[in-house]
């Protein structure tokens, strides 16, 4: 008998890009979620609009281990062009559902995989004589068969469809018809459900489904951001798509229909960040979303904002570099380029969320910090966090929250003071008060990216210049206290891991895996830069820390080495940078190897 994999399996679907499979796949994903099982989904898509292969991977795990896994327990093959590699990718003992309308090349068959032929196209022809309707229903058909095999309740699918097509009940009906049809066929022709299956859990968590980019956009709304200059780039664009939709909902004047926000599609990233800086200078909360190539283009102006102390929030949804790299694959390869962006001596505040929940809260914090510290703040996420849909704990909002606008002098305050000097830090917190254009004659000053003294005047004098840049260094450093502290889970073992962002699920799963073998490791996840003192203490407490990150050059480790008191030898790099979301098996293996090496030394 086959091993049972109840509420613990990977379902993978092969599609053709641009063929409209998203809603069918998402339906399967959500239905498992609605069955009360922890689940995640990853869309593996090409840099193309139509015709190339894409895959959708769903991992259900009662234990909550939902990082990407390379295993495949149930495959739905909807792309004839990849069928050979698809079959090869199934784990031994797995299942392979395919459209048997056209016969499968016998040579591709495997003995250790159970093939599930369903004549999907044929069934469709019968059920939907109208070609147009049939095309629309093309993908949804496999959902029914999959539901039968995997024991997903039809009622859940029905509920979800009703919600999705609340305004078009006829569509809900047609979809359900397609689903029932293949469900029936599968049930009648095979033993359903399979050992690989869902078993409904009564408690459905109070979660939402949201992408990291969506959560960032929502964060921008809740931070009170009003201006964005942006330029399209995968995987960052959807921050703006969602922000635009949210503005229609939350920022539209009911009477005039006008928006309380300016969304400016710029001509490039130089302009995009320039717009953000201009708006930040004038007192608006402004942001710009981008990815690697855009970050490179923003370098000059980021240095300008740093030196002139203008707040602006930059989202870098990281993708595989260098250069154009793999725009639809994930990496954490801009940590160092972001921390030290621009020529000359600079250093920038980074926020490093791991999931949509943090995307939301950190985004709000990014605006607070940008205005408090009067400097660019970069929020670094990645394609996996940003573009995939995540089951996320419901977000909540503290209605007592008061945005930290930093030291901005009002007209009344200016009225009272003798004379205003832009860069004079009079209370020793390294931050000087600023004023906004248009507010009061006494607040006016001239801002420049060239050498200036603490009064804001042009200078070419060494001592005056040094005074200003030294304060800048201290100012940015002082933000460490305000940044979200690292997540530390136990600090009692000899060895620890350090990780960042979207690695967290895979790393935690790996630690759980190792713990089963009695290998215990401490866990720390960095969430901000400059690093918190707690991060230093954690490193201090360990003989070795394995720094797990998704880039080739150990960028987080480099930053830790340079910016904490850690010894280099304390930090051992563990790197995965092939562009796929981190997988726990690979991490486990590498950790095991690294520990063995430690012990044998």
């Amino acid at each position: 008998m086959k091993t049972e994999r109840i509420n613990d399996f990977v379902l993978k679907i092969a599609n053709v890009n641009g063929s409209g499979s998203a809603s069918a796949n998402s339906l399967l994903y959500k239905s498992i979620h609605h069955s009360g099982i922890p689940v995640s989904a990853k869309n593996i898509f090409p840099s193309n609009i139509q015709g190339l292969p894409t895959w959708y991977e769903i991992r259900a795990s009662a234990e909550g281990h939902v990082s990407r896994s390379p295993r495949v327990d149930f495959f739905i093959a909807m792309n004839p062009r990849t069928i050979a590699e698809d079959i090869a990718s199934v784990s031994p003992g797995g299942y392979f559902l395919y459209d048997s309308t056209r016969p499968l090349n016998k040579e591709l068959m495997r003995n250790d995989v159970t093939f599930l032929p369903i004549p999907l196209a044929e069934l469709s022809v019968e059920a939907f004589p109208d070609v147009k309707v049939r095309m629309l229903m093309k993908n949804i058909t496999y959902v029914g068969a999959a539901a039968a095999f995997l024991n997903i309740e039809l009622s859940i699918l029905q509920t979800l469809l009703n919600e999705t097509y609340a305004r078009k009940p006829s569509l809900a009906e047609a979809n359900m018809k397609a689903i029932t049809m293949s469900h029936k066929y599968a049930s009648e022709n095979f033993t359903c459900p399979l050992p690989v299956r869902v078993e409904r859990n009564e408690t459905v968590s109070n979660s939402i489904i949201i992408t990291g980019n969506g959560a960032c956009a929502l964060g921008c709304i809740y931070a009170g951001a009003t201006v964005t200059g942006w330029y399209p780039i995968t995987p960052a664009t959807s921050i703006i798509n969602v922000f635009g939709q949210l503005c229609q909902r939350f920022r539209r004047d009911a009477d005039t229909g006008k928006l309380n926000a300016a969304i400016i599609q710029a001509e490039d990233e130089l302009a995009a960040v320039g717009i953000g800086i201009g708006a930040g200078w004038c007192g608006a909360r402004a942001f710009t979303p981008t990815s690697g190539p855009g970050l490179s283009l923003m370098n000059e102006l980021i240095g300008f904002a740093y030196f002139t102390e203008i707040p602006v929030v930059i989202f870098d949804v990281q993708r595989v570099g260098p250069s154009t790299g793999m725009p639809t694959r994930t990496q954490q390869c801009d940590i160092l380029p972001a921390a030290y962006a621009s020529h000359g001596d600079t250093k920038h505040i980074l926020l490093l969320p791991a999931n949509p929940e943090e995307c939301f809260y950190f985004t709000v914090q990014a605006f607070d910090m940008a205005e408090h510290f009067q400097t660019p703040v970069l929020v670094l996420t990645d394609l996996d966090i940003g573009m995939n849909e995540w089951i996320t704990p419901r977000l909540s909002w503290d209605d007592n929250y008061k945005p930290d606008r930093g030291k901005v002098l009002s007209a009344e305050e200016l009225e009272k003071i003798e004379k205003f000097y832009r860069y004079l830090d009079d209370d020793g917190d390294e931050i000087a008060a600023r004023t906004l254009p248009g507010v009061h004659p006494k607040g006016s000053y001239f801002l420049r990216g060239s050498g200036h003294n603490k009064y804001g005047q042009y200078t070419e004098k060494s001592a005056e210049y040094i005074e200003v840049v030294d304060r800048l260094r201290r100012k940015v450093q002082s933000s460490a206290k305000t940044l979200p502290p690292p997540i530390i889970e136990t600090a009692e073992n000899k060895y620890g891991v350090i990780t960042v962002g979207g690695c967290h699920l895979a790393v935690k799963e790996a630690l759980a895996e190792l713990a089963k073998d009695g290998i215990k490791l401490d866990y720390m996840r960095i969430r901000g830069f400059p690093f918190s003192p707690q991060a230093e203490e954690y490193i201090d407490a360990h003989e070795r820390c394995f720094v797990i990150e998704q880039n080739r050059d150990a960028q987080l480790r480099s930053l830790l080495i340079l910016e904490t008191r850690a010894k280099k030898s304390q930090l051992v790099p563990i790197l995965e940078y092939g562009g796929m979301p981190l997988d726990a098996q690979a991490v486990t293996a590498k950790l095991r190897g690294a520990i063995q090496k430690e012990i044998s030394q």
Binding site: A261, C282, W397
Partner: protein, 351 residues
């Protein structure tokens, strides 16, 4: 908010404007440009114009990039806010400033290097977006601050001091601006204050992107005989398409203008623009005729100046984007942040 600025110089004989300020009150730091630099005359014209318009200095935001020309904002309206950004990126910064606070009076100053080489894209797209601002390009055909290389507005065949000849045709920022959909396009000469001051006033009264290309000779690097951006050459080859006057109160139109060659346009802010002595084959409200006119002049070796194009129906970036009338910076955070109830309601659909 409006504040009554204490005039810096209390000399009674000096004329005050409606804000109670004298022209001196609109001055800035001492210029560090070369003696005789055209840019300093532009500064003088700006001071004159904003004083005449009685603009409250603190409502003005001065913006620039990098270059000798981009130093100009330091030299006028020291009570205004100013930002000296990086080379070629003033336009984007201005766009952001306008987005944040549409009530600011934005005055951007740039150079031909700053706007036509490194900043061409931003200049063009800002014109296209019709950002509500006055954009002055101090055009001298060279890169002054980096010591006299040809800029993209240098005429073909014009020479540098050392004899190097420019092989390429010039980019005419006025034509580009019209092509991009700028709603107010003019050209003038730093040496012609009588023409320049009313143009600046008109540009500031215009709603939308008001562009003025000012030929502004560089005495250090491009004012010699074989230059086509010298004082002499410009003076000799200037061709005024139409002289303009800006009249703020309708009643005060007293000067008698010639019939047939005079045209009056009412601007967005109610002031009236009088176009006098218009060339017969010229119509600044028709982009096609305007472009033809400019190119015809150029072919004859003339520099068409004056108001070259105006679109009075111009709507700015905010109107295009249907952005609210209140400056975004003035919206209270309570208005902007929807609160927890809204967040919970919104999340009901996210599953």
């Amino acid at each position: 908010m409006s504040f009554n600025q204490k005039p810096k110089v209390a000399h009674p004989s000096v004329t005050k404007n409606k804000e109670g300020l004298t022209r001196r009150d609109y001055e800035g730091a001492l210029s560090t440009l070369c003696a005789g630099c055209g840019h300093d005359s532009v500064t003088a014209a700006i001071i004159h114009a904003i004083w005449e318009l009685s603009l409250p200095p603190h409502r003005i935001a001065k913006l620039s990039g990098i270059g000798c020309s981009s130093k100009t904002p330091t030299y006028f309206a020291s009570d205004a806010h100013g930002i000296n950004s990086v080379h070629g990126r003033m336009a984007a910064v201005a766009t952001g400033a306008s987005a944040a606070n549409r009530d600011l009076i934005l005055i951007g100053i740039s150079g031909d290097g700053d706007s036509l080489s490194i900043g061409l894209g931003q200049f063009a797209h800002t014109a296209r977006r019709n950002v509500n601002m006055l954009y002055i390009l101090e055009n001298n055909g060279v890169y002054g601050l980096t010591k006299g290389q040809f800029s993209a507005s240098a005429d073909v065949g014009s020479q540098l001091k050392k004899g190097e000849k420019n092989p390429f045709g010039p980019i005419d920022p006025a034509q580009i601006a019209i092509n991009m959909g700028a709603s107010f396009v003019a050209r003038s000469f730093s040496g012609d204050k009588a023409q320049l001051v009313p143009l600046i006033k008109a540009g500031l009264s215009h709603y939308g992107f008001a562009f003025i290309d000012v030929i502004s000779p560089c005495v250090s690097f491009n004012d010699h005989e074989s230059s086509t951006k010298s004082y002499m050459h410009t003076r000799e080859n200037i061709h005024e398409a139409a002289h303009i006057d800006l009249i703020r109160d309708a009643q005060t139109i007293t000067a008698d203008y010639q019939e047939g060659t005079t045209k009056a346009l009412t601007l967005h802010d109610g002031s009236r623009l009088i176009l006098d002595k218009i060339d017969t084959d010229f119509d600044p409200t028709d982009s096609i005729r305007s472009l033809t006119y400019i190119r015809d002049c150029a072919r004859k070796g003339q520099v068409a100046t004056g108001l070259l194009y105006i679109d009075r129906d111009s709507i700015d970036m905010h109107d295009h984007g249907r952005i609210c009338d209140t400056p975004l910076v003035e919206l209270p955070m309570e208005t902007l942040i929807p609160g927890n109830a809204a967040l919970q309601k919104f999340q009901d659909i996210l599953h």
